[in-house]
């Protein structure tokens, strides 16, 4: 079977490339895209369902279909004649890698947008540290959170979580904001997906295995949850309800045609069934959620909703303000405008900042920050219903390490300065960058 794509935009040609890569892997390894499992194999998999991590299939011939840096190259080469909002004069002075003039917020606009992160508002991640007596902020904030949950007020929860979520309330608050409640039909739906996994083997399954083994299994925080990741991601790839998000995405799901019927829509099926081909690091979208949910179908629902609301924007090309292209441009613009010396210096030595920060943003910082910090960051993604905070944080990190970065003389050295973010506290960084830096 061959795969083909019927749209030719920046996203379209990117999709073509991915599918070509998948196709050639398929041909090289002589593995079908999908096959029905023999009954014996089905039984075996069912028995091993809770410990698929102990399986050691030979994955050496599989390679990730693409990695974030491949995607970055595509974004760098984007040229779009449809200017969103003409400020072509200033854009010609844009010295970053992104050459698509989308409208992005400046710091005054960001301060307004993220007003609850301001210096005079209490924050979890700052005002709950051990030096601060809990009576000043934390106790009251917890009390309000409990009230919001008791009233099951989703909008209030979203507003509340802008100041961060107490650890004990986070799982419920996120579920409330994402409108996830585990009804029997949800659990049944998950079980049905599990049955699909048991019955059919997909080529992407091997890609998922490989990704988990390469990323989450080696992570200090997430290695424990390896088995949950398989249980979520294998089901995810078979979930056709995910196709729904393509309606508001600029992407389109890859289609496959029954042999001999190329181009005939009535013989088209989506591949993989959910239309999402995983890339290197994809499993890291799920991993942090394992700290909150340990019931597989709930974990699954939460992840799926996070994906179709947020994460899909991080690896598809669009002009949406939370899309990765806008985030890259926002990051570069913030740096060039407010840290020009640093920006020019890094450019000079061949270390375009986006080359370093791109992977952070594509993964929503998962795997780069300590888990408690990551969860505080994702609180704000939910609270503001926007991914722009990822670009702001990326710029704030550069600002924080500016002194060291000014002294490096190569891309490799710059990478080294920014290699370890595990000790960073995100809220102080964001607050200082947005509200305490002279603009």
């Amino acid at each position: 079977m061959a795969l083909t794509v019927l749209r030719s935009t920046g996203q379209g040609s990117w999709e073509k490339r991915i599918l070509k890569s998948l196709n050639s892997m398929c041909t090289e390894l002589s593995i079908p895209l999908a096959r029905k499992r023999p009954v014996g194999e089905q039984k075996e998999l069912l028995n091993k369902w809770n410990e698929m991590g102990t399986d050691e299939p030979d994955l050496s011939l599989f390679r990730p279909v693409y990695a974030p840096k491949d995607f970055l190259e595509v974004l760098i080469n984007l040229r779009n004649p449809n200017y969103e909002n003409g400020d072509s004069l200033s854009f010609r002075t844009h010295l970053g890698l992104i050459q698509v003039p989308l409208k992005v917020k400046d710091i005054p606009e960001l301060k307004e947008f993220f007003v609850e992160l301001g210096l005079t508002t209490g924050q979890l991640g700052i005002d709950d540290s051990t030096q601060v007596p809990p009576e000043l902020f934390e106790n009251e904030h917890v009390r309000i959170g409990q009230k919001v949950l008791a009233e099951q007020d989703s909008a209030a929860a979203q507003q509340y979580i802008r100041q961060g979520s107490p650890t004990a309330l986070r799982a419920e608050l996120w579920a409330l904001i994402l409108n996830i409640s585990s009804q029997p039909e949800d659990i049944l739906y998950y079980e049905q997906l599990k049955t699909n996994v048991i019955q059919h083997d997909l080529l992407v399954d091997s890609l998922i295995y490989k990704d988990v083994k390469l990323t989450a299994s080696n992570d200090d925080y997430y290695f424990v949850f390896e088995d949950y990741l398989y249980q979520v991601l294998l089901c995810f790839s078979r979930d056709t309800s995910v196709l729904g998000h393509f309606a508001y995405s600029s992407a389109s799901p890859p289609k496959s045609y029954i042999r001999g019927k190329l181009g005939l829509e009535e013989y088209a099926v989506f591949y993989p069934p959910n239309g999402v081909i995983p890339f290197h690091g994809f499993s890291m979208y799920v991993a942090p959620l394992c700290f909150l949910y340990h019931e597989p179908s709930k974990l699954y629902q939460i992840f799926r909703e996070m994906y179709v609301r947020f994460f899909f924007r991080l690896h598809s090309i669009s002009s949406h303000p939370s899309g990765i292209v806008s985030l890259c441009l926002l990051f570069e613009t913030l740096l060039q405008t407010y840290l020009p010396q640093l920006f020019y210096h890094l450019r000079e030595i061949g270390a375009q900042p986006l080359r370093i920060s791109f992977k952070w943003m594509v993964r929503a910082f998962s795997g780069y920050l300590a888990t408690d910090q990551l969860l505080l960051l994702w609180d704000r993604i939910l609270g503001y219903n926007s991914l722009e905070i990822l670009a702001v944080l990326a710029a704030a990190v550069f600002a924080f390490r500016a002194v060291n970065l000014m002294e490096v003389t190569s891309l490799a050295a710059a990478e080294a300065v920014l290699a370890d973010l595990s000790t960073l506290k995100v809220m102080p960084l964001l607050q200082i960058f947005l509200f305490a830096t002279v603009t």
């Binding site: 410990e51 030096q131 650890t167 299994s217 080696n218 200090d220 394992c290 340990h294 888990t371």
Partner: protein
């Protein structure tokens, strides 16, 4: 006048030696005049043995108490805790309160344990009460999971039955002494995996008791999934979590696992990047997120409680030699009702590092330990009051300071209602920051 501290060690580990060298200390041999000796447990035995008549001078410090084995030998630890409980019961202390089933409310933190062969008959009586239970056999004097096996049938320990019948005065030193403990078959699982906790506790003096808890303890996870089924008894990877076993273990065929020499390593089971460990902070985050804050705080309070109680239990019999301090490795298992169990205490916690992070942790552990035990890195005077200033604690926190606790008023010791204050806090004041360690209410 201040000279350089002269150090000796018979444990050649870089985390130690780097710490000595960075303080500008001078390495000497044990035959020369030394100020600081980081000893193995074998050496401490000979230093303090009656025959050698070794006398330490005021400017000499060692890293073990002479009879640390009262705490660190599995059988003696249990014996001391049992004795301590009985004493408290006799004096009518509220700490020794029992529930309607006769179980101690506050002091039931060691799994039911018997010595073999001495208590064989007592053990059999207990075993028959719940014949489907599993028990774990551990040799008293070994570490790193050596010689440990599980049993669920009396026939599996026939050998000790014979021994107990033949001679009641078989000396403990000629036959390998074992303890047999009720196996905790409902451990708390995370990601379906069993784990145990390794916590470091520094004791600078036993009377008065002054001890510190290292904030950066860690959880050690099993490589494979935990299942309580009996067929898995053979798979000791599941049950034993010691990193040493995870690194070099192999399976036995008869329900027993023997220590295997290196050629039989299963290196591929051991992930070289993280070594299957979580920080205690990760554990706390996970538990708060999935179980709630109150039960998590209660769990950590209980963990601190059982450590202090174990130290109080051995304090009366410890030789509180002023030349000594000791850094223990506490092994604790948490069950699925979030109750912590004390499994054992190690006198010589491993200073080998399995990962880069591990190396950093152990280096810092030694560093902070030395800062407390050898103030200012100068030639010690063992007559000092062993009360370091707050600033040098590093990653240690005061766990219990008997002197400070008693200063708060002796009457507080006796206040007890279930869940209420059973002892004053150890040396914590409001302006030193929020109490994170003991919230014994």
């Amino acid at each position: 006048m201040a000279g350089k501290v002269k150090w000796v060690t018979d444990i050649e580990k870089s985390v130690l030696i780097n710490n000595f060298e960075k303080r500008g200390w001078v390495q000497v041999t044990e035959n020369e005049d030394w100020n600081f000796y980081w000893m193995s447990v074998q050496t401490i035995r000979s230093v303090f043995s009656v025959e050698t008549g070794y006398r330490l001078s005021d400017d000499q410090i060692v890293n073990h108490f002479p009879n640390h084995y009262e705490l660190t030998r599995k059988d003696l630890m249990v014996k001391n805790i049992k004795r301590y409980r009985k004493e408290l019961e006799k004096e009518g202390s509220p700490l020794a309160e029992k529930d309607e089933n006769g179980k101690y409310l506050y002091l039931d933190f060691v799994p039911v344990t018997y010595m073999l062969p001495a208590d064989y008959n007592l053990f059999v009586e207990e075993f028959r009460k719940s014949p489907s239970s599993t028990w774990i056999m551990k040799p008293c004097g070994k570490a790193q999971g050596k010689g440990i096996f599980l049993i669920n049938k009396l026939s599996q320990i026939k050998k000790w039955s014979r021994d107990s019948k033949t001679s009641s005065f078989v000396s403990q030193s000629t036959k390998e002494a074992y303890v047999i403990s009720l196996y905790i078959n409902n451990p708390l699982l995370i990601g379906g995996r069993k784990f145990d906790l390794r916590l470091y506790v520094l004791v600078s003096t036993y009377r008065p008791l002054r001890c510190y808890m290292y904030k950066l303890g860690f959880c050690r996870f099993c490589t494979v999934k935990y299942t309580p089924s009996t067929s898995e008894l053979d798979n000791m990877f599941v049950h034993l979590t010691n990193v040493a076993i995870q690194k070099h273990g192999a399976l036995g065929s008869s329900g027993c696992i023997a220590w295997t020499p290196r050629p039989f390593c299963h290196q591929e089971d051991y992930n070289h990047i993280h070594g299957g460990k979580w920080t205690v902070n990760n554990l706390r985050l996970y538990l708060e997120s999935t179980r709630g804050k109150e039960v998590t705080s209660k769990l950590f309070d209980e963990i601190h409680w059982i450590i202090v109680q174990s130290l109080k239990a051995v304090a009366p019999v410890m030789n509180n030699d002023k030349h000594c301090f000791e850094c223990y490795g506490y092994d604790i298992i948490i069950d699925d009702r979030l109750k912590p169990w004390l499994i054992e205490v190690n006198a010589s916690p491993s200073l080998t590092s399995s990962t880069a992070n591990d190396r950093i942790l152990k280096y810092n552990l030694i560093n902070d330990t030395l800062n407390i035990a050898v103030p200012n890195g100068e030639i010690p005077d063992c007559k000092w009051n062993k009360s370091p200033p707050k600033e040098v604690l590093g990653n240690y926190e005061i766990l219990y300071d008997e002197e400070l606790a008693q200063g708060d008023g002796a009457d507080r010791e006796l206040r007890s209602r279930p869940g209420q204050s059973l002892g004053p806090r150890g040396g914590r004041s409001r302006d030193s920051g929020r109490t994170v360690l003991t919230t014994w209410k």
